[in-house]
C-alpha cells in the first residue's frame, strides 16, 4: 500500500498540519508526523480541502465525443480539484434507461481520474411527457439518486409533481432546470437593458423564478425534496430563502460564472458568453454571492458544458449555449467569495464538497479531512496568480469565458482514494 505525507498544509485554511495517507484512507492528521517510507508532498502555505464534488457536469458521452468524453471530462475534473462529478443526462442517447446510466458509470470507473455518478433523466428523451424508469436507474449498478432533465425544464406541473413523489421511495431528488418554456421561446440572453439595445431575444428572470416558486410549493405539498439547478437571479434567491424559512426541503446551486460575469459582456456578441441560464446583471451577481455566503444557496456546481470550437466560432444566434467550468471553478470561487471575505475555506469545503455529496447522497465523498476518512483531497496554492490559458485545459473543449483573465489560485494536487490524479499541477 502506498503512503503519502502532505506536510504543513493549512487544512480548510486553518492551522498548518500534516496529513498522512495510507492506501485509500487518511491514516493520521497532526503535526510533526514522520514520513517514513511515504512520498512527501511539501504543502507549506497551501490550502488542503476535501476533494471537490460537482453536482452538475456535462460529460457528453455517449453521443458528443467530439466535445468531451468521460475520460477527458474526468481529467478536467481532476485538474480542477474534483474527485467526483455527477454526469447530466442530456447525452445521445439520453440517459433515461438503466443501460445508458450503467454505461456512463462504467466509463467513469475505467477513467480512474474521478468518480462519475450518472444523473438519470426525469422523463423519456427529456421530453417532459412520460416518466423515465427512475426506479430501474436507481436499482442499476449506477445507483442513480439524482434525476434531471437539465437543458430542459420539467414544465408540466403534474409530471413534476409525480416525479417529486415517486423518487421518495428510494431517497432520490429531482434537480430542476427552471425555465418556463413559453416565456423563453427564442431567448438568447438575459432580458433587460442590454438585450433591448442588442436586439437579442430576452430570457426574462421571471421565467426562472415562476418555475422555482411553483416547484418549492409542489415539494411542500407532496413532502419531497427538490434541488434547483444553476439559480441565476436575485428573485430566485428570495424565493428559495422564503421556501427554506418555511421549512420546505429545497436545495440550490449556483455556477461560478453566475458569481462573476454579467450580461454586459454580451455586448461583444462573442458566443463564449452565451449560456443557459444567461449571464444576468450586477445586482443578480451580488445577490447570488450573498446567498451562497448565507447558505440560501447550498452549493457551487459548474454546469461544465463543453462545445466544439465551431459551435462558438460563429454568430451569436447560431452558437451553442454553455461554458466549460471544471478547471476554473475553484479559482472563480476564490476570487468572488474568499477574497471578498464572504466565505472562508471551510465554507468553500462545505459548498463545493460536503453539501453536494449530501444532496446527491454520494457515499465516500464530501467527508472531513480526518483520520479514517477516504483520502479524497485537493491541495490548492491560493497565492498563485495567472491568466487562464485554454490551451492548457484537459477538457476536450475550450469554450471558456475566462480566456486571458487573471484568476487566483491553482490546484497543485488531487488525490482520489489516496492515489494522486494531479501532481504539481499536472495530471498524473
Amino acid at each position: 500500500m502506498s503512503k503519502t505525507l502532505i506536510r504543513g498544509a493549512k487544512v480548510l485554511g486553518g492551522e498548518a498540519q500534516d496529513v498522512l495517507i495510507d492506501g485509500e484512507t487518511i491514516a493520521q492528521v497532526g503535526t510533526g508526523l514522520e514520513a517514513g517510507d511515504a512520498t512527501v508532498v511539501e504543502a507549506e502555505g497551501k490550502i488542503l480541502l476535501p476533494g471537490l464534488v460537482d453536482l452538475h457536469t456535462h460529460l457528453r458521452e455517449p453521443g458528443r465525443e467530439d466535445s468531451e468524453t468521460v475520460l477527458t471530462g474526468t481529467r478536467a475534473a481532476a485538474s480542477g480539484g474534483y474527485t467526483a462529478v455527477f454526469a447530466m443526462a442530456n447525452t445521445f442517447p439520453v440517459a433515461d434507461t438503466a443501460g445508458v446510466v450503467e454505461q456512463v458509470w462504467r466509463l467513469g470507473q475505467e477513467s480512474g481520474y474521478c468518480d462519475v455518478q450518472p444523473i438519470g433523466a426525469v422523463t423519456v428523451g427529456l421530453e417532459g411527457k412520460q416518466l423515465a424508469e427512475l426506479g430501474a436507474m436507481h436499482d442499476s449498478a449506477a445507483g442513480v439518486k439524482v434525476f434531471s432533465d437539465d437543458g430542459k425544464c420539467v414544465d408540466d406541473a403534474v409530471i413534476m409533481r409525480r416525479a417529486l413523489e415517486y423518487v421518495k421511495a428510494f431517497g432520490g431528488v429531482v434537480a430542476q432546470h427552471a425555465q418556463e418554456p413559453r416565456l423563453t421561446e427564442g431567448a438568447q440572453m438575459n432580458e433587460g437593458v442590454v438585450s433591448a439595445e442588442l436586439g437579442l431575444g430576452g430570457w426574462p428572470a421571471v421565467a426562472e423564478e415562476s418555475i422555482i416558486a411553483r416547484d418549492v410549493l409542489l415539494a411542500e405539498h407532496v413532502g419531497s425534496r427538490v434541488h434547483i439547478c444553476h439559480l441565476s437571479t436575485a428573485g430566485s434567491v428570495e424565493i428559495v430563502r422564503w421556501a427554506k424559512s418555511r421549512g420546505i426541503d429545497v436545495t440550490a446551486e449556483v455556477t461560478p460564472h453566475h458569481l462573476l460575469l454579467t450580461d454586459e459582456l454580451v455586448r461583444s456578441y462573442n458566443p463564449v458568453y452565451k449560456v443557459n441560464p444567461p449571464l444576468r446583471t450586477e445586482k443578480d451577481v451580488m445577490a447570488l454571492r450573498e446567498a451562497l455566503a448565507d447558505g440560501t444557496i447550498d452549493i457551487v456546481a459548474t454546469d461544465h458544458a463543453p462545445h466544439p470550437h465551431e459551435d462558438k466560432d460563429c454568430e451569436w444566434a447560431a452558437a451553442a449555449m454553455g461554458m466549460v467550468g471544471l478547471e476554473t471553478a475553484l479559482s472563480v470561487v476564490q476570487q468572488t467569495m474568499v477574497e471578498t471575505g464572504l466565505l472562508d475555506w471551510a465554507g468553500v469545503a462545505e459548498r463545493m464538497s460536503y453539501a453536494p455529496a449530501v444532496i446527491g447522497r454520494l457515499e465516500g465523498h464530501g467527508r472531513p479531512v480526518a483520520a479514517g476518512e477516504p483520502a479524497n483531497l485537493t491541495l490548492v496554492d491560493a497565492a498563485y496568480r495567472g491568466q487562464v490559458d485554454p490551451a492548457g485545459f484537459a477538457s476536450r473543449s475550450r469554450n471558456t469565458p475566462y480566456q486571458g483573465r487573471e484568476l487566483p489560485g491553482r490546484v497543485t494536487h488531487t488525490f482520489l482514494r489516496g492515489r494522486a490524479t494531479v501532481v504539481d499541477g499536472k495530471l498524473a
Binding site: 437593458v193 433591448a196 426574462p204 454568430e315 444566434a317
Partner: protein, 328 residues
C-alpha cells in the same frame, strides 16, 4: 472616419453630419445626365444578403455602381449557406476573392459586428440590417430626409437635427430601424418619442434616450416628423395585439390623425408599407409622406458611406457652385 459601419450608435455627431453632407454632394450626381463617379473604380464590394431584402440590396447596388465599384451579389438562398456553410467560411471565401467591402444583411443580431471584430476577414464591413439590432444606413437616410425637409437642402449643410421632435410609431420591439434611429437622432440632437402598445416595446426601453408614449394622439401635435414602422400581421398570433383592426384603430396613421400634425410636419416610413395596417392609403399617398424620397435618399447616403469608409479623403465631387434656389 471609422473602418466599419455596424451601429448608428458608433457615429459621433461630426461623423454623422459629414456623412449627410457628403450624401448631399452625392445627390447632385443623381441630377447629372451621367450618374456615375469613378471614385471606387477597381474596388470590389460584395452584397452579402442572408435575408431577402430586394429594396435594400438594390439601393446598395445602385450606390456601388454609381461609384464605379465592381459589385458581387451573394444571396444565401440556393447557395452553399443553405447547405450548412458557416458565416465564417462564407466570409473567408469571399475575402479570398479579393473583396474590399462586405455589405451584410443577416437575420442574426450581431452577425456584422462579429464579422468586423473576429479575425475572419480584413474587409470593411457595412451593416445592411442585422436581426432586430441595427440598420444604420436606414437611420442615416432617414436623418438625411428629415434634415432636407425640416432644415433645408442647403441650409442643412453642416447642421444636425437639434431640437427637432421626431416620433416613431409601431413595432419598436422587433425593429432595427427604431434602434438605429433612436441612436442617431439622439446623437444629432433631436428629441425622440416612441409610440407603441406596451407589448411592442422592449423591456429596458426606459434607458433609451427617448420618451415613450402609448397614445399616438397625444404626441402628433408636437411632432416635426412621424415615422411609421411596419407592423407584421403575424405578430397578432403571438398576442402582441388582439387584431389588425384594433392595432390600426389605436396606432395607425390616418388622414384625421395626420391633420393633427403641424403644417410643416412630415410622415415617414422605412418601407415596405402595410397599407390599411399602420398607415392608410390617403396618408401614404399624400404630399407630406416622404416614402419615395427616402428611397432616392437611400442611394445618396449609401454612396456617401461607401465613399467615406473605402478611403475617400478628398472631396467626392468637384466643389459645387453656390446654389441660389430656395431650399425646400
Amino acid at each position: 472616419m471609422m473602418r466599419h459601419l455596424i451601429s448608428a450608435a458608433d457615429l459621433t455627431r461630426d461623423d454623422a453630419v459629414l456623412i449627410l453632407d457628403t450624401a448631399e454632394e452625392m445627390a447632385r450626381v443623381a441630377d447629372r445626365p451621367i450618374k456615375k463617379l469613378p471614385t471606387l473604380r477597381g474596388r470590389t464590394v460584395v452584397n452579402l444578403f442572408f435575408e431577402d431584402s430586394t429594396r435594400t440590396r438594390i439601393s446598395f447596388e445602385a450606390a456601388e455602381k454609381r461609384l464605379s465599384a465592381d459589385v458581387i451579389n451573394f444571396t444565401a438562398k440556393g447557395s452553399s449557406v443553405s447547405k450548412g456553410e458557416s458565416l465564417k467560411d462564407t466570409a473567408q471565401t469571399l475575402e479570398a476573392m479579393g473583396v474590399d467591402a462586405v455589405v451584410i444583411r443577416h437575420g442574426a443580431s450581431g452577425a456584422p459586428y462579429r464579422l468586423a471584430t473576429s479575425d475572419w476577414i480584413d474587409a470593411t464591413v457595412i451593416n445592411a440590417g442585422d436581426g432586430t439590432h441595427q440598420h444604420p444606413t436606414q437611420a442615416l437616410l432617414d436623418a438625411f430626409t428629415m434634415r432636407r425637409r425640416l432644415v433645408g437642402r442647403d441650409a442643412g449643410l453642416g447642421q444636425d437635427l437639434e431640437g427637432k421632435r421626431i416620433t416613431l410609431v409601431g413595432d419598436v420591439l422587433h425593429s432595427r430601424v427604431a434602434r438605429s434611429n433612436v441612436d442617431l437622432l439622439h446623437t444629432l440632437g433631436a428629441e425622440v418619442t416612441l409610440v407603441a402598445p406596451p407589448t411592442l416595446l422592449p423591456i429596458g426601453v426606459e434607458h433609451w434616450p427617448a420618451h415613450v408614449s402609448y397614445d399616438i394622439d397625444s404626441v402628433l401635435a408636437k411632432s416635426d416628423a412621424v415615422m411609421m414602422l411596419r407592423v407584421q400581421r403575424e405578430r397578432m398570433n403571438a398576442a402582441f395585439f388582439p387584431t389588425e383592426r384594433e392595432y390600426s384603430r389605436r396606432y395607425g396613421l390616418n388622414g384625421e390623425r395626420m391633420a393633427k400634425m403641424p403644417e410643416h410636419a412630415i410622415v415617414m416610413h422605412p418601407g415596405p408599407m402595410v397599407r390599411g395596417m399602420e398607415i392608410t392609403a390617403d396618408v401614404a399617398d399624400s404630399d407630406r409622406c416622404t416614402v419615395v424620397e427616402q428611397v432616392a435618399n437611400g442611394v445618396s447616403v449609401r454612396m456617401a458611406v461607401l465613399y467615406l469608409l473605402l478611403g475617400g479623403n478628398e472631396s467626392a465631387t468637384p466643389a459645387p457652385a453656390a446654389r441660389t434656389e430656395e431650399s425646400k
